[in-house]
Amino acid sequence: MATVELSFTPLPAHVRTARLVATAVARRSGVDESLLDEVRLAVGEACSRAVEEHQLHCPAEPVRLALSDMADRFEVEVTDNCARDSAKLAGVGLESTAGMAGAAGMQAGLGFAVIAGLADNVEISETAEGTCIRMSWPSAGAVR
């Protein structure tokens, strides 16, 4: 079970809240101060992508964020409920997002480039609900 779970209506204003919560939990989980900016930015990117997908395909469904304090890792999962997007994302992958057409493609490409460049470990998978971006960083153990 995640240490902290958050679900929010897919509005851009709530992405900032998600960033703040993720940063606070990361700090409490023992993530080094020098990595907190990276956590904040990567979580913001993943949530922004999810919000945009929800607004296009399922605006009534919430975006889900799970923050887990593992033994020596801090793990973040951002899950959308847009199964419609999953096939597209799976076909695109992290390395080939630059090939997506138009402004939306450029935006998605930049977002994935930032996530890939910042997170220590990134996995993108499809779940029954939609697409899940899982990222993690090393932590020194939680402050309990």
Partner: protein, 116 residues
């Protein structure tokens, strides 16, 4: 912190001062300002990001969009930024090769003048 935007002319170049967070929520306001400036025939722009606390890919997209608009009029869009946390995002995305990034507004203006 929310986003604060201001702009003024200096040596014939329009300086856009940005303060706060540029993200998916606030970036549309910066986009609107850049479009407004281009529509007002300001094609030489310097975006001063020294007081920007947060920048994400939405903000990067807005800056790239602004650059595209001014270049359509043979203009320029340079950036002023010395903050490592912001510069890192430009490096990760390869955009350091796209934008002129300077330490001060005066340096940005001087660099633009020397290219004319």
């Amino acid at each position: 912190m929310d986003l604060k935007l201001d702009h003024h002319s200096k040596d014939g170049i329009e300086i856009v001062d940005v303060e706060g967070e540029i993200d998916v929520y606030t970036a549309p306001r910066l986009r609107e300002l850049l479009i407004e400036l281009v529509n007002s025939r300001f094609y030489q722009l310097v975006v001063n990001m020294e007081k920007v606390e947060f920048l994400d890919s939405t903000g990067l997209g807005v800056l790239v969009g602004g650059l595209k608009r001014v270049r359509a009029h043979d203009g320029s869009l340079d950036l002023v930024c010395t903050q490592e946390r912001i510069l890192k995002i430009f490096r990760i995305t390869g955009l350091t090769k796209v934008f002129g990034i300077h330490d001060t507004v005066d340096e940005a203006i001087a660099a633009r003048r020397s290219e004319k």
